[in-house]
Symmetry: C2
Subunit: 362 residues, 2 copies
């Protein structure tokens, strides 16, 4: 859409003081959008707080001086938690926030724009999006659906999860009843885990009553909110299954293209700002939450054994390769991701890993 | 400054299609600013390319629809590379991009808003800025100077530097002639290094001719540009001295306060977007550059020995503590930084370190 109103307003410019040049009035249109999310009302990081869906809506309002006002609906308020993709592609709403792997039932390759088991962490994953062709591939896929996707947050390395008893060996995983969805679940299943699918609100009661032996959710902040530490005390790290889960901003393309170029730019910059603001808020909050869990709630933080990690690594490679072999789009995305990862790993191993191991210690 | 022109433009709104609500024209003023930087023309990452000063100026122009136009001057074009602080505080220009530790001669505590030896990496450093009180402290200091500071990029973990011969023990550092500025230089001096201060352009000839035995600059991309691999082959990592060097956007407060609120918001969002876009561009480019240096230029990547790292750690703690003891502002910033670091380290050691060591390997 072309801008229709370029008005000169020399008087305002002249009054604006020494720093102001003659003024040009900005684009005149204003827009009312609706945005859904996959997250419950008030959920820290995703729905509320710095970098969240609420923050994005408010930031766009401020930066556009009210020219793009977005009414926000949490999961269930307008559509179900997993209804955002259909709502945006169908034009019911203009925008949705979720994680792209929620839609991997429709397009398997979308898994790579959520997180990849044994994949890259925040810095590499985003280097791939912004500078390694990842964002282009993401939108090549979405082009057929008339939508645009971009990152707007990142959980960082998630925790492996909560276990009622320590799990030391592969044998301890055989028959273990564990709540874990998606690709992570598929991989656990391949080592004999009895994988259960449960909504967020159902995890605590199931874990507490012993219906399940273990559960994966997100990390210290979100897990504490669900009370998982009251039902299990062994909290495993390494986050092999979700090293950098990306929050997705999904936008109806027709609606986006109808925005003036300046508002389009604002939406993109706010999404990128949300990406780092949200991610670092998780980094900050998880430090506090983990300390609280360990100091005040008797939680023990443990690491998976090498035997378990290496078997999961092997199964992950097999399952990712089978997915790529079965679908040309997945093949293309997989190869782009892995080729970038190989290169980035060399840098990460020299820079951040050396720093983490030799300098930070711990 | 209050906005002077809120014009209703119903016709444009009515023409804007089903998604558009009645329109309100944005703030009418426009502004012409000048921005200096500490960087030479075309310098990747800092001056040119994604997330750089050029990118920031262009992004602000687009997102404000030309209402804030900024004329950019590289180092030496309007003021010297280290003249940006005076230019912004004095009102010669409205904006500057540099690294805050360049001004630590004026206010020692500004070191902490550049990078801290043995400090935090990208995620922790930014979590401290955005969510741990860091940004507030930064601007508490700048308030007295009538300026505002914010992060707009990050080099990530820098390389320790280039050495003509391997350095295995502390003894190898005694009398070693090394180019390294700032706090890193002060710490090397304390272990007996003969520290040299040289501008970027003087490093290669000095290293090649053997006037110096070693040199620190930034990382693979920038170092290769200077040709340092042609003068020395041993490239050490761990980046103990600069784990997350923050690029600073410095803004004249009076000029910023004269902007309408929407443009202020845009400047802040573009700076935050630049922070992640620039940082991840370094992550992406360094992977390529390091591979090239090793494969095609016979560079050997090595790690400092534990003996050397531990002595540097001890000296760093002493020197930082002495700085804090000598100055109440530094004390306040130091304590905030270290207290946040202690908490964040616990999370980083559980999440990203475990992932780096156990999952990514290398």
């Amino acid at each position: 859409m072309k801008r229709r109103n370029i008005l000169k307003a020399g008087i305002a410019g002249a009054a604006a003081g020494a720093l102001a040049a003659p003024a040009i009035v900005g684009a005149a249109e204003s827009f009312r959008w609706r945005m859904t999310t996959s997250f419950p009302p008030g959920l820290p990081f995703y729905q509320s707080g710095p970098g969240s869906a609420e923050w994005i809506v408010k930031s766009i309002d401020e930066a556009t001086n009210g020219r793009l006002k977005i009414k926000l609906f949490a999961a269930g308020e307008l559509v179900k938690w997993n209804g955002g993709f259909d709502a945006v592609t169908g034009g019911t709403v203009e925008m949705n926030s979720a994680v792209a792997y929620y839609w991997s039932g429709k397009v398997p390759a979308l898994q790579y724009f959520g997180t990849v088991p044994f994949g890259m962490t925040f810095q590499g994953q985003n280097a791939w999006y912004y500078h390694g062709g990842g964002l282009e591939l993401w939108n090549e896929i979405y082009n057929d659906f008339g939508v645009i996707g971009m990152p707007c947050g990142n959980s960082g390395v998630q925790m492996t999860g909560w276990f009622k008893k320590p799990v030391n060996s592969l044998a301890d995983f055989k028959g273990l009843k564990m709540r874990i969805p998606g690709l992570g679940g598929k991989i656990y299943k391949s080592i004999g885990v009895n994988v259960k699918s449960l909504g967020g609100g159902d995890i605590f009661p199931a874990l507490e009553r012993g219906v399940i032996d273990a559960a994966e959710w997100v990390g210290p902040v979100q897990d504490r909110r669900l009370g998982l530490h009251k039902a299990a005390k062994y909290y495993y790290n390494t986050g092999w299954h979700e090293p950098s889960t990306t929050t997705e901003l999904l936008i109806n393309k027709k609606a986006f293209n109808a925005l003036p170029k300046d508002i389009q730019a604002i939406v993109r910059h706010v999404a990128a700002a949300a990406n780092i603001i949200a991610h670092t808020s998780a980094e900050a909050l998880n430090g506090d939450a983990l300390e609280d869990l360990v100091k005040n709630h008797g939680v023990k933080v443990l690491s998976l054994s090498t035997e378990v990690i290496e078997e999961l690594r092997k199964k992950t490679a097999e399952i990712l390769e089978a997915g790529a072999a079965a679908d040309p789009v997945t093949r293309k995305v997989h190869d782009s991701f892995m080729s970038f990862k190989t290169k980035h790993d060399k840098w990460a191993n020299t820079s951040s890993r050396q720093f983490a191991v030799r300098v930070r210690g711990g």
